[in-house]
Structures are given as structure tokens and as C-alpha cells.
Amino acid sequence: MADDFSSVFEPPLDQLPDIDDLVRATMEWHFSPLTGSPYWVERAKGFSFDPRTDVQCLADLRLFADVPVDWSQIPAHQLVPRGSAPGVRYGIYESGGATGAPKRIVDATSRRRNVQWQSLLLDEQGFPSGEGNWLHIGPTGPHVMAKNITALSELRGMLCYFVDLDPRWVRRCVGEGRQSEFRRYVDHILDQVKDVLRTQDIRGISTTPRILESIGAREDVFTLLRESVRGIIWGGTSMDGETLRLIDEELFPQAKLAGAYGNTMMGVAPQRTPVPGDKAPCVFRPFYPYTVVELVDPAQTDRITSDDEEGRVVITVLTRDYFTPPTLERDVATRRASADAFPGIELSGVRPYESASTSVVEGVY
């Protein structure tokens, strides 16, 4: 959509905007009664500040510290900005619900830009494109993953097959200690994967670490996949360095492996192309400035961690489709100085934050 905001919300991907310009545009777009969403415009009436005048830079977003947002309770249609051009089609997307009731966001085209950017990094990494097809083994349905992967496979010139995985059912099985039911579900998924692999020409896949491991344990599926696959995107849950190495070197030596960190709320932080001197085997690069990731001291959340220090993830999302003020996430990660002067931070070693009071069940997805 071409308007006054296009130069910050939709510039070419090699001309990313200044962060403070983006912050001001986001405040104006989402909080102006003319263009903002019913939710934010209404909500702002109770603020002790005016986002359109008092928020001039990234640091000013701290004013939102007193504005808790429960994304699981908002009627999602109220999140659609009024200023959206006629004909722009929004979708509603839900989180897996790892930390409680599912959160909902709306998205029209912003996530596609995030995926385009991911695809540029994949090109840089020599990830396959053009020949053969794609298979996504992971959440579809209400989850934004299916939309992301549809966009990604299109961009890479491949048709996309899907085998659905319901992360909420997995979490329930694991949470209730129903290991055998969980294993049966994974086998049900792998049977479907086998059918696709046997009859279709699959060169690229996207899935979770746990499914990759399960495939490694199923000789029939593993043999087929190892033969055909040339590119694997993994994400959804964390993967330790040794497992990554084993998958890369031992299970699928002929495939390019690329990680993707992210979730419904923050978008995709693809793996940055490795450079000599990297301190971790897989470093993620959030889509700055549209997704701003900070890492903070878990014990003292107003202290930002230093490079190579572990901290809890705080995300801020500044896009035309939706705005998320700085929000403490469930994960911890290690902050890394970004390579090649990229303006945003990078991170590695992502894992769920475990405190005494919360318990997160990490499943397959």
C-alpha cells in the first residue's frame, strides 16, 4: 500500500529504515483515530501519555511498561488498523499456547516481508531453490507457520506440501505424561511424511528439531528423506549444539541446514550466515528494525545484558499490521555482537526460561 508510511513500513529490503523513524510512524499509524486499530485507539484513551507526541524514539517505548497487553483476550478483529486499504486481506494467527491461553495477532503482508528477508539470507547461504518441492512438517491451521512457509516456498520457486502437527495436543500428551500417546502421534505424522516422500519430489523441508530426531529413529522415513532433501529449515523449539552437529554432519550431510528462531508474536529471526570467529554454531538475526529483540537480566529486567551474556528475551514489534510494545518473552538467549555492522543485535543458544514459578512444557513444535 503506497502512502506516507510506505517509505518506512515497506521500503526495499536493502534499505531498512532508521529505527526512530519507524517508531514514530508506528505510533502515528496505530494510534491515530484515522488509521489506528479500534483496540489501540480505544486503549490509548486510558494512557497517561500520548503515543503520537510523547514517543519519539525506541527508548521512549518504555512508557508502555505500564500498559500490559493480554493478547489472548483481545477480540482479534479489533486489531486490524482502520487505515488499511480496501481489499487488503488480514488473517488471524494464534500462538501455540506454550505459556497459557493462545495469543492472537493479525497479519496481512508484514510477515511476508519478514520471510522475503529470510529468503535473502537463505540465498546467501546457498540454500536450494527452483528445483523440486517443499514439505512443511509442523503447525498449520491457526498458526502463522503455514502462511510463512507458503510464502517462503513460493519465493524459492517450489510447491509446498504440508503434514500438520498440532502443538497443543503434543503439549497436552507430554504434560500429562502420556508418552506412548505422544509417540503414536509422532508415528502418525511420520507415516504421512513417508507417503509424501515416496510419491513426490521433495528437496526442501521445514520442521522442528524433535521431528528431525524422530525421523532419524524411523529407518523407513529417514532413508527416503536423506536421499532427497537438500535443504532443511528447523525451528519452533531450541536445539543444543551437539544435536545440531549430529543432524548436520551425520544424519543429513547432503543438506543445507538453516535455523529459524521465532514465534507468532515476534516473527522469524533466521539464522545469520556463519562467519569465521562465530562464537556459536547457529546465530539468529531478528528482523531489525521491525522486530527489535533485547536481552535483559532475568533477575533485574531493566538491565540490558552485555555481548556474550545470557539474558531473557524482550521483543518489540513495529509493523504496519500490528504493534507489540516491549514484552518479556518465555525464552533466554545469549546476546552476540552482530556481524557485518548489521544494526540490530544477534542471539544464540535460545532455550526456554525456567524459573521456579513457571513451567513450560517443550514439545515437538
Partner: protein, 458 residues
Amino acid sequence: MAEAKDLHEIPLIRAGLPRHSVERAELAGVDGTLLALVHLAPPLLARLTVADARAGAERTPEPERIAAAGELFETATLNGLSPQAYCELQSRVAGVPVAVARHSLRDVAETFAGVGARFLAERPTGASAAPVPGEISTVWTRRGDVLAVIAPSNNPGTHTQWLTALACGYRLVVRPGTRDPFTPARMIAALLDAGVAPHYLSLLPGSHATGDALVEAADLSLVFGGDAAARRYGEDRRVILRGPGRSKLLHTGEITEQTVDVICRSVGYDAGMRCTNATAVFTDADPAALAAAVAERLARLTPAPPQSPDAQVPVLPLAEARALREHLEGRLEGAVDVAAKLYPEGPVADLGDGSGALRPAVLLCDRPDHPGARIELSFPCVWILPWRREQGFGPLRDTLALTILGGDEPLAREALRERSIRKVLLGPIPTYQAGRTSPHDGYLSHDLMEARAFGTSV
């Protein structure tokens, strides 16, 4: 990590081959000193290692080879550690007095040497002859090929149990306990040096998830653990559980010097950390008098850093030691610790280096059904309960080892009829004593092997 190069490094062993991992964990002594770096195996590696173990050819090690490995375990420098260096490291990290590891060197070597005799003793006589053409006979065969072992850290001797499986021809994949990877690493190094085929031996330090993956991938598993492990794996028919021992003594008649002696040795031997150490004593004499005598004797056990030859009780990081005591205080339900008054500085001896030694507890109970008899803690801790013959063996169920003091032979026969009592000793024999080929908790090989028929025509 500047000091990392001074740490003893424990690689994982994948089908006999040492391998480094990207994931590592530092191991500290109970006083907080960093001592070792352990390479960790993720769940995926458990699956891959089981596949490697399965893939190799059949090469069941001969008993002589295992015996030779026992000698190496006792005397050789293995993994860069002399026997003494191994004992010190094991004691400092596990918090077990070094005297335990030192006498275990010999005990382990003897178990290695006796594994052939044990295998033969456990095999049914009907399956002992080689099949003859023209006859249909019995053969003693494995139920599977790969055995996962989820091992504990409480006592080096516990590890010798899985040697039987090696003699049966199982390929072993061992996930060691967090605090003692040293003992299985040394056993495996000795066995490999003695020429056991590499794919028969793997060591995968790792998390619970790694253990789960291992149990799932292996044919059978030997799992050491408490009630939590029982809940986790209790339903799995492929899992052989070695849970808490809840060993006991039953005493009738007079309280003699010998009574007190056998009770105290049963409770305090090897710092009270074995499953065959006594957890409870039932007596038809005066429980208060017995408890006082036992407390007085056990209080003499010396608290000292685990690497000290004087140490006789377990040592933990101070906070953990105190937490364990607090846990005990919370479960007394009216029982009285009659040993407590013998420790003016408290039941946890602060060793001044960040660690604390757990001094013995003697808990006097007022009724035979006091729940204490089921509470087994990893230090000399004994519950003394009143008992009358008419109460029978109900209160004595679920007992790995039972010693009956007082010479009542009919009572011992009766105890043998209670299936959940796994060993009965009549007379002044401490609970931890075992015969050369007597069963520990049934014969392990009877869970690993089965008799099948085989016949050929003439």
C-alpha cells in the same frame, strides 16, 4: 575457561570410541572446587549410539577377558587416572568417603573375576549342555541385544551389577549418574583395554531426556532410581527397575552388644549410601533403649571431607546437606531423633569449605506402622520401631535385605514366604553382606535371558 585445561575431562564413549561433544558440563566437588569436564550426549546421540551398538558383529566377551579387566580396574592407570587419583576424584564429587572407593577397587575386581561363575550359577541346569543333533534341548538365550543402564552415583559397587549383562552378551549403553561418571568410565576403559569389542560398551552422560531416549531405543533397560523413576518407567515391561532398598533388621529378645554392633554396621557401612544399608529396625525389646545404644555408637562415625581417609559419613554442598536434613525434619510424624542431642553443633557438620557432612540420625517411632520405615535417605539414617510377633510381616514388606537377629529360625522361614523381601539373613549378619553368586534382587540374568528350545535332526 582459563582453568578448563586443569580439569579432568570425561569424553563420551560411543560404541567404544571416545568422542567430544559441543555440550559439556563442569563437575564440582562437594566443596565447590571445579574438578572435571563431562561431555554430554543429547537424546539423538542415544539413538545413534544404540544403532551403532546393534550394528556390530556378535562378540560376547569371554569371562577371562572380563576378569582381566577387573585387574586393570584395580591396578592400572586408566583415562589418565591412577587408582588413587580415581578414588579421590570420585569421592570429592560424589561426596562418598574415599575409603569406600578404595575398598571398592578390590571388590569391583572380584566381581569382574566372578562374573563367569555367576553367569553359570544363574543359568538353569537344564540349559547347560551343548545341543546334540537328534535331540530337542534347552538353550539359554538373550531377550534382546542392547541394554541401556541408567546408573546411580551412590556407591561405586552398584555398577558391578551390569557386568552380568555383559557376560550374557548384551551390548551396554550406560548413562552414568550426574555425580559419578568416573566409576563407569573407569570400568569401560578397563574392559576396552582388556579387549572387549568396542560396540559392546558406550558411556553417554546426559540429561533425563537422554535417559528416556536411551530406554526407548534399547531392547531392555536397567534403571536405578527412586520412586520418581518407578513412576516414569514402572509401566514399561522392558525396564528392570532397581529402586530404593528399604533394607531392615528384625530383632527379638535381649539387646546385646552384638545386636547393636550388627545394626550399626548395617546402617553405617559405606557411609550408609547403599541400597542394602538398613533403613529400619523392628524390635520386640525396648525401642527407646535400643535407639539410645545405636545412636551412641553411630554418633562416633567421623564427619570429614570425603577425600580424607577418616571420613565415614556422606558430604554434600552445605545447602544441600541442610535441605536434606530439613526434608527429614518435615517427615518425622512424631518420631524423635535420639542422636540429635549428641551433636552440639547440629546434625550437619559444617566442614568450613562450603560442604557439610551428614551425621547419623536415629529415629525412635512409637508404632510399627510409622511411615518412617519406608523413608530411605542417602546417609546413615535409621528408624527404630516397636514390633510384636502377632503383627507379622506386614510392616516388613518391600525389603531388599532383611537380617533377623535373635535366632528365631521359624521367623526366618516365614520371612522367606513374603515375596517382597528379597534376601533373608538369619543371625548376626549385616544386611549388606552377599554370597559370591547369591541374588541381589532376583538374578539379573533371569530378566535378561530366557530358556528356549532348540533341536536338530541327526
